[in-house]
Symmetry: C2
Subunit: 342 residues, 2 copies
Amino acid sequence: MLKNDLLLKALRKEKVSRPPVWMMRQAGRYLPEYQVLKAKYDFFTRVQTPELACEITLQPIDSMGVDAAIIFSDILVIPQVMGMTVLMEEGKGPLLPNTIKSAKDVDKLEVTTAAENLKYVYDALSLTKRELNNRVPLIGFAGAPFTLLCYMVEGKGSKGFDKAKSFCFTQPDLSASLLQKITDVTIQYLIRQIKAGADVVQIFDSWSGLLSPDDFDRFALPYLLQIAESVSPHAPVILFPKGSNYALSSLSQNKSVSGIGIDWTIRPSVAREQTQHRVTLQGNFDPSKLLLPPSEIRKEVHHMISEFGVNGYIANLGHGIMPHIPVDHAKAFVDAVKEYQE
Amino acid sequence: MLKNDLLLKALRKEKVSRPPVWMMRQAGRYLPEYQVLKAKYDFFTRVQTPELACEITLQPIDSMGVDAAIIFSDILVIPQVMGMTVLMEEGKGPLLPNTIKSAKDVDKLEVTTAAENLKYVYDALSLTKRELNNRVPLIGFAGAPFTLLCYMVEGKGSKGFDKAKSFCFTQPDLSASLLQKITDVTIQYLIRQIKAGADVVQIFDSWSGLLSPDDFDRFALPYLLQIAESVSPHAPVILFPKGSNYALSSLSQNKSVSGIGIDWTIRPSVAREQTQHRVTLQGNFDPSKLLLPPSEIRKEVHHMISEFGVNGYIANLGHGIMPHIPVDHAKAFVDAVKEYQE
């Protein structure tokens, strides 16, 4: 049915002629056509208007030629429908003015009806799925429970999320109940995304790398696995616990995990050694390297693929593409993957 | 001569009854007696006045009972004496308004006479050494070349130092020449620190963990090793390449490295496995855990020591202590190490 099903083949670890490629934040600020919409509509208007979210999602399919679309949205829509105020200041990042501090704050969070209030995401997915017309698979996503807790407790972006981590350490039972509530909503949310048209889902644990291995096992891992186990019967699941390289081996042993995203702080050969082709690996180009001349980007990309191998691999960046990357450099990254020959 | 030489013994991997303990940023904002001086004198006055730097250095020796003093100073004094303007805005971090952009900027940097212009650091060390009266060893320090390049190119603190990294990637020859200049000054600087009274030196590579293993080998490792090899004949060298866990094995194989600092993102047992008691390990308590009740801090500290083992180990945090940590919690950390029994 899909004309280009490289991503799904890679996630099933089937033999492919070359790896699929997409870029985190590929529907974003480095694209001039995105800037046009950004100038006209504020952030949550772009996220909450299915026609706009769809248009933005499709932009890199047309201009970059990537092998997958990822729905334009934000991980903080979950705290929002659980009852928290989330503000997005352009260029400044998110702000949650009323942070979670006590059991009362956790009690107040909405769980049962939260996911159904994200109809605009499901509508955006259905519309995008239709507009894609089976050209490439569509990826849905959510933030991981620990990463969402970080924002819900800290209230904004942070280098070390010390406040959020201290909350976990000093109130482990309350943290567990908060993480479980987020998990419950996220499972419903992702299953609904899949029903609306997502072919694959990715869970972004952007801040799990701030945890020690033991604390990852307490505050991140159980919730990631609950989600993967509940969602994987419906579609393949990719986990991206950024920086948690220590967790690769154990995560790869869970059959509900199809893919694991990694950043550039681990050698492909080491990641392979730890995961033994039990899962598909995704990554791990350092986005700062997209400022290299296109000819050197090509060389580095080919080197990366040769280290990962063609099968069981999804070429991607190790983190989101940055706003100041020239479009032709991003295109050089994608093209380099597409022209790769063993 | 030293009444308490636990730190030196640990760095020589000699048998000890318990590990030595100190805390990164132990002379800092969590101490009320430091706040008194901070209210009276601005940052660079505190750094550049030997009597003040000495007083601040001694504060945690008296109030915390740590097993080592570390001179109160800043890694950015090196860019300063190399000719760059460095401003420190309280609560906002450093600002270098004229960043390094081109070969001309690198050419202008002073190398030959830079280190001798840090007389106030050497005076602070001599004075502190005298005032310590051999109670505990005195640690000198410097920023690692890659970390200093980060600030010199980026101009301020940053989550990912993408500008600095892109500078390295796109201008590798110019970066090499900048890194070499910083290295040359740093070697002179550390040898002079030792002559002035430092018993041990630590090199802080706070941002090396933002590099991939291959890029660490290009932009961080060679300069760290040059420094270690030139300085280690004069005093033991501790390297702290924060987050570069991938480098532990290779760094530990260099005989000029006595100690390696690690943060909490690696299990003690894994760090031991990779370094095989070739070096002393230092760390790796998550500073966010200092908000736990003192009784739980004690439990966690004892667990940490039992994982590292008593010998070839220096108990420390995995990053600097934060300003909002209660003094009695910091004291609980130190006391827990001192009361540890196998």
